[in-house]
Amino acid sequence: MASTDTAAKGAESDDLAGLEAGLDALDTVQSHRTPVSEVLLKKVLPPLVAVALVVAVWQFLVWAEVTDEGSLPAPSAVWDSVSDLWLQGTLLEVVWTSVSRGLLGFLLALAIGTPLGLLVARVKFVRAAIGPILSGLQSLPSVAWVPPAVIWLGLNNQMMYAVILLGAVPSIANGLVSGVDQVPPLFLRAGRTLGATGLKGTWHIVMPAALPGYVAGLKQGWAFSWRSLMAAEIIASSPDLGLGLGQLLENGRNNSDMPGVFLAILLILTVGIAIDLLLFSPLERAVLRGRGLLVKS
């Protein structure tokens, strides 16, 4: 390049830079996060209203005496049994017994379901061999595993974990499989041209690209863990096992303590929702938001 056109080239280059900066400014999408007050108004208020309505209808039915108190306890009676349990100091203990079992079981399911899902998704033979069984297992109610688990392992914590694993591993593995299946082929081609093949491709391209499907699988896996655990706790209650929410429910039935039964159901529901809201929903939103996949409403 002759030095005589350097000056001209410089000016032309500055021109282009300015033009480009202008285009970028015009085209850039402004993304912003919704303010807290709006979140409260649009996301938190509606479910609270719904809960209040349900309680109001419930109270109304009790007042109208549609059925005897043994079948439908008043909200206040259920509240009393909550505070009784709280005052005895056992409420948190009962909840923690189940939650710790559920979470530990879930983590085990995660450790088994992830490599299993990856194998099914990436190895054709494995997919043909166990893929259909794995998705079929999802439709088998995990309560069906309780009798064999009790026979094999006896009435203990291992039995509970076995039931959780049989319920949650297929969900987690299937979530990962469908996540991998939905990876756009373009990403795989782009990865290959960058040199991401084999294990490198799996680690750098396939796994992160499959993350949304995987997280959806985790969410479902948690729901299955929790359900399986409750089935196991209700059927296999034994004094050696410690009092969990399932046993609390079963005890209520044995004592014909309807407020206690309601209390146990509400606690099981609350814990399931709380773990989802505190753990999995934020995780899912963070993954989707990072990719610009959250639809602004």
């Binding site: 480009e20 285009l23 782009a190 041209t193 960058l194 750098h204 690209a209």
Partner: protein
């Protein structure tokens, strides 16, 4: 590679023996339900070091197939393709990974190439600077405009430090104004880096605007129909009279090729 000094760039071209890409008697057929279909028929083409070649053709000429073969994403049915190392490839879609920021997309390319961790960040910033996106390091892909995404994709392709850049209609999805600016940008970067470029397009003006050599492919099967050497001095504008003149000549030839398909 991207910001090599002129001396280094020249050193590179002199040590490179032979063309940046050599395509020798390449044919490609795909087996479909209706038997084998010949997509590319006996293509021979050399891309010299530092040369900018556009492959031009109507749909069905197999130009993207040819690019995939050169990129090593697919194998030819017959013939041979030689390149100096693994070529970089840019797609019509930006193909940036949405789970990474613009900067991390480039760093992933560097990492896969084996660049040491400490050098990745400065190198990525340098490449972003080259495509004039210095401020975009921490931006997510969805926060960038279409033109910015393609520039990050270009920076990522340059991060592969390949001597051959393959481009598969990279500007086809952009609006006309942005495309025009990116033509200027690509010409500038090509002249700075002295990369060899093989650029696929169906846009005659774009082909003439960018290339030193335009190769016209016929369709079904794809064969090399004709070649033009573009003698117009860079930097060109897509509006230049000389560009228009050659574009008309090539368009006539292209239309002739297309017409043949309606005659039987």
């Amino acid at each position: 590679m991207a910001t090599l000094t002129k001396d280094q760039a020249e050193d590179r071209t002199t040590t490179t023996a032979g063309p940046a890409a050599r395509i020798e008697h390449v044919s490609k057929s795909f087996t479909g339900p209706a038997g084998g279909q010949l997509v590319l028929d006996d293509i021979s083409l050399d891309v010299a070091p530092g040369e900018f070649v556009t492959l031009l053709g109507a749909s069905g000429c197999g130009k993207s197939t040819l690019l995939n073969l050169v990129a090593g994403l697919d194998r030819p049915s017959a013939g041979a393709i030689t390149t100096q190392g693994r070529p970089a490839l840019m797609f019509q879609e930006h193909a940036l990974f949405p789970w990474l920021t613009a900067g991390k997309n480039i760093e992933l390319a560097l990492r896969l190439r084996g660049v040491a961790k400490a050098e990745r960040r400065p190198e990525a910033e340098r490449l972003l600077d080259l495509v004039r996106l210095s401020g975009a390091y921490g931006k997510r892909v969805h926060e960038l405009s279409g033109g910015m995404r393609q520039r990050v994709a270009l920076a990522r392709a340059l991060a592969q430090d390949s001597q051959l850049l393959l481009m598969d209609e990279p500007f086809a999805a952009l609006d006309a104004i942005t495309r025009d600016v990116l033509h200027d940008e690509l010409t500038r970067i090509w002249r700075e880096t002295r990369l060899s470029v093989l650029f696929v397009t169906h846009n005659v003006r774009e082909a003439v605007r960018l290339a030193e050599r335009v190769v016209l492919l016929s369709s079904r099967p794809g064969r090399i129909a004709r070649e033009w050497t573009v003698g117009i001095e860079q930097p060109r504008r897509i509006e230049d009279a000389a560009v228009a003149e050659l574009s008309i000549e090539i368009t006539e030839e292209l239309r002739g090729e297309i017409r043949r398909h309606g005659q039987h």
